[in-house]
Each structure stands twice: as structure tokens, then as C-alpha cells.
Symmetry: C2
């Protein structure tokens, strides 16, 4: 190896990734991995990539990037009611990749894999003349036939969300403009909270069982509440109504909103929440919220699904609006 990082792929794997390979990975010395679901269970699989300059800033901490690459996928598993089993990683390294950066990336990934109970099972690494690119395919298991879908919401179901909404989008605003007036008015603690929510999504693994028991439909909120609710409603052949005042906000987000009420749009349409959006039948709502609380995460109703095919309606005392899905989904 020299200063520009000349390692064979085998050396690169052995140095950075083999230390946290799971049982079915055979030390990353084989061409494939093995996944053995428990009897009566099946596999849930999801894939999400993150790209430098699109899903993270080139100067975000590499360990945070590594953590996020896995977190966004484990978040999908939780939304489907699945327990994580492991993941495979496909990496494209830019021509100017630095060993120190990759080591830190791998360390963040390693910590996330341990924290999420989701070990590395295999991967592929190529060098390409483009941005750093990491695609994760993650596996979970559910009892057969119990995977929770995006498209099964029923008219009358409560629109439920976990945790708090909008923190990551506000954290991203802070990240882009740390010297803005509203940032200056906030305590350091609140600024750290928002930035941390952007950098370090918390996949709601603890809620996988609760979702499977009580949600008729579920998905994670990655592209903004408004856009993802529109997707769930459309997939279910419905629309939805949301009470803006009911959307759960952190103390920091509440302060940001008080400083500028128009910031509600950022909160509702910004991405990277990685909370869960669930359709819950009214008769299951109390149990759903109670069991989620017992698992350490709040989960509350903010509206309901109803018949219709328009975009979801968001209302407060001052009026109503329907959000167009953000342009970031366009190619």
C-alpha cells in the first residue's frame, strides 16, 4: 500500500470489513453468504444507496456516513415489521479515495452493525471515476406472511407517526447555514440535537414487533412526511387528512417554528426523518401507542386516511394545504 491507497480488494476487505462480518459471511473469504431464517419465517429484503454530494456532504464525518448507509436500510426493515439479520455492501470508491476516510467509514458502519444487530455478510468494491457510492442490501426476517406493506391502509385508519418530525430537515438547514439568525438564537444543545438527527438517523428497530402486531400498513419516512404519506395513501387507493398541530415536534423544532411559522413546510416536506408512518385501525390505536411507548418510542395519531384520490390535506387554524411531492424525486 502506498500513500494513494494501493491495496488489493482482498487486503481492503480484510483490513476494513472482515472485523465485523457475521456468521453467514464465512470471514468474507467466499463468493457468497448464507442467510438462514428461523423455521416458519421468511426474508424481507431492502436496498438503498447513498451517494456523496446527494445523500451526504463530502465533508460529513465518514463514520456518520457509514452509519447512515446501514441505518436507512434497517429503518425500512423496521417499517416492514422485520428483525434485522444482516446486510451486504456494494462500494464504488472514487479515484482519489483516502484510506483514512474509508477506515472511518468502515468504523461507523461497524458500530451501526453492532448497534442494530445487523452484521456484514458480504460485498463488492470497485473503483470508479465518480463520487463515493455505497449501496446496502439489508435482510430481515418476519414470521411467514406477516410482512407489513405500504399499500394496505383502510379508510378510517389513523395516520400515525413515531418520534418527532422535521428535526433532520432543520438539521440540514443548520448544516447549510450555521450562521443564520434562527440558528444563533438557539442553545448549543438544540443545535446539536437537530444536527445529530440529520447525521445519525435512529431506525425504529424496537418497534418492528409493534408495527407487525398493530399496523395495517407502514413505511419509513425518508422523503418527507407529506411525500411519503402521499405515497402510502396513493398505494392504498386513498387520500388522508392531517392536523398540522398534532405533528410531534422536538423542543428545538418547536422553537424554530415559533421563530418562523412558514418553517412548517420544511418540517412537513423535508426528508431524512427515518421515523415510521403507520396506518392503524381505530380499535388498535390505544394498544399501538401503549406498546410503542413501552418500547421507548412515542407513536401518535396525527390524522386519518379517507376515501379520495387527491394529495393529503394538511390543516391548522389558519388554513389548509396540499403539498406537491418535492422535486428531489425527479431524475
Amino acid at each position: 500500500m502506498n500513500g494513494s491507497g494501493r491495496l488489493s480488494e482482498d487486503q481492503l476487505i480484510a483490513r476494513y470489513f472482515a472485523p465485523f462480518a457475521g456468521e453467514g459471511a464465512f470471514g468474507l473469504r467466499d463468493d457468497a453468504a448464507r442467510i438462514t431464517p428461523r423455521d416458519g419465517h421468511e426474508i424481507v429484503v431492502t436496498v438503498d444507496a447513498i451517494v456523496s454530494g446527494i445523500h451526504f456532504f463530502p465533508d460529513d464525518p465518514a463514520s456518520s456516513v457509514g452509519r447512515k448507509a446501514l441505518a436507512v436500510n434497517v429503518s425500512d426493515l423496521a417499517a416492514k415489521g422485520a428483525r434485522p439479520l444482516g446486510f451486504v455492501l456494494s462500494l464504488a470508491l472514487p479515484d482519489d479515495w483516502r484510506p483514512a476516510w474509508l477506515e472511518e467509514f468502515a468504523e461507523g458502519l461497524h458500530q451501526a452493525a453492532m448497534s442494530f444487530g445487523c452484521p456484514l455478510l458480504g460485498g463488492d468494491t470497485v473503483r470508479a471515476n465518480g463520487p463515493f457510492w455505497a449501496s446496502v442490501t439489508a435482510f430481515g426476517e418476519t414470521p411467514k406472511g406477516t410482512m407489513v406493506h405500504r399499500f394496505n391502509a383502510a379508510a378510517g385508519d389513523a395516520v400515525c407517526v413515531t418520534g418527532t418530525i422535521g428535526d433532520a430537515a432543520l438539521g440540514l438547514s443548520l448544516r447549510k447555514d450555521p450562521l443564520s439568525a434562527w440558528a444563533q438564537e438557539m442553545t448549543l444543545e438544540k443545535r446539536v440535537h437537530l444536527t445529530d438527527r440529520y447525521l445519525h438517523p435512529q431506525p425504529r428497530i424496537a418497534l418492528a414487533d409493534v408495527v407487525r402486531r398493530h399496523a395495517r400498513a407502514a413505511m419509513d419516512i425518508s422523503d418527507g412526511l407529506a411525500g411519503d404519506l402521499a405515497k402510502m395513501a396513493k398505494a392504498s387507493g386513498l387520500t388522508a387528512e392531517v392536523d398540522l398541530a398534532s405533528i410531534p415536534l422536538s423542543a428545538a423544532a418547536r422553537l424554530a417554528l415559533e421563530a418562523d411559522p412558514s418553517r412548517i413546510d420544511t418540517i412537513v416536506t423535508g426528508g431524512d426523518d427515518y421515523e415510521l408512518l403507520c396506518a392503524v385501525a381505530p380499535e388498535n390505536l390505544d394498544e399501538f401507542s401503549a406498546e410503542a411507548a413501552a418500547a421507548g418510542v412515542s407513536a401518535i395519531s396525527i390524522g386519518r386516511f379517507c376515501k379520495g384520490d387527491s394529495l393529503p390535506l394538511f390543516s391548522d387554524a389558519t388554513g389548509q394545504k396540499r403539498y406537491q411531492v418535492g422535486s428531489y424525486t425527479h431524475f
Copy 2:
């Protein structure tokens, strides 16, 4: 949509990919897919990416690129003794992507998925300022505990290969220099054969059961026979000896070799064969070859594994050599 290809990701998926989604994909309308192995079976998972300018030429037919993205992964499954179940796709589209190219890519992938019995289960698509990048994670199933590994070869086992070796590497030479003297001396049919072997790898799915029944260790030959044999020998704590004259060659490769005997190095070290390399105990060799032939693919012994830790030795009447692994594996 306009001329530069403005589609939402949902439209892009619905148009190009949903037509060949498998049963567990829920029409690609969910956030995850389901894989249900049969009772008593487990999942084998493999991941390989292909990048424009590295694994294929930007002007290779897009349908061939789509086919290859899946074929190189299904080849790994076959080498592990696994029957294909499906795959997920992670795509990075360059800023200047063209709908016509992507449509042709998807069509090649579609045909391959049908031909390999390996349906699309899900995916992720991002736009990135870099080369076209496609990463496939493919799933197969084997009866529990029967996955064939790379690292179990035993001293005395025969080194076996399927099909013919070196065609793709010669096809790549033709692709790079179609007007070279040796190319001109070949019939069109032979040139087409070699080029086709480079563009359209034939994963040996038909041999998965035979490999599982009779091979002690197996892997596919993707990085050249010499390099991959070195990997298998090293992983098994062994070395190997190969009789160069025994390596199975197509009529076209034989002609190319007669024109220039030094071309044996291209044949032995070139990549993209996507044949299988197997370690077979001497007492199983006859049955292995007979059952492979019955499945329509030749599989013969070209040498044997033996104790030692040097690189594999390749011998013919004129001498012996040990090949260094190609520099293409370096980062």
C-alpha cells in the same frame, strides 16, 4: 418527461422495471421485498457491481450490459450450488442518462431474468455525477447446510473447469482491436463466438445441482483461471498444478493460440469466463463429469490440488510457470 429524461423515480420504475418484477416484489410498490425459501432450505446471497468504463465499454449494447449485470451474479449462485430465487438492483444514473439506453438496459435485464429464472424483487435508483453503475444482489436457495464453499478443496482433489476457457478474454482483445492480423484470419463465425462470449456470459445454472452433489469446493471464474485458482488454493491452504494442454478451448481459441502460442497467457489470466472452477475428489470425478455432460455442459479435470503455499503451477511440454494475479484487482 422531456428529452433529457425527466421521470420521477416511480415513473422510471413503473416503465422500465415493474414489467418483470417477481412475486415477492409486490409490483415494486412497497419498500421491501419478500423471499420465502422452501422448507429445509436457506438463502445464498451474492453481490457484484458493474461500472461503465471498467466492466463494460460505454458503447457496448445496453441490452448486453443489462444481461451481464445479472449473469455475473447468477454465475456466483451456480458455483455455490444454489437455485436462483430473485435479485435486487441498485442503479446510479449519470447526469446525461438517456431513456433509450436505459430502456434497452432494462430489456436485456428482463430477458436475462426470465432466462435465468431470477426475477427482479426491488431496487433503488439515484442520479450521480459519475459513470453508469449497476449493483445487483442476487438470491438463491440450497438445502440447509449444502452451500458449496470456495475454501474446502483437499489435497489430491481434481481441478475441474466447465465449458471452455479464455474465449471472453480473446473476445475482449477482438473488441479492442478488431482489425488485428489474427482477427482478420478468423472466420466471421469464430469472431462472433469470441465476442459473444465476452458480451454474453452464460452462467452455469444447469450445473448447480451437480456442483452441490459432487464438488468439495467451487467458485466461478470471473477474474481469470490463474487468479481464481490461486484464490481457491490459498483459501483451502493448498497449491495446485495444472496441465496447460488439458485446458478446454473452443475451436476459435485454439486457432488464436496456434497463430500465437504466447496467447496462452491471455487465455489463462483473462477474465470474464464465467465458467465454474471446482475441486472434485478423485472418486467423484467420473460422476461429476457425466452428470455435467447430461446437463449439457462439459466439465473436465485439468490438474490437481496439492500441499504447498506457492502460486499454482501451469505446465506444458515447453516448460512451467506460475502466474502473478493480474493488477486489475488493485485499488
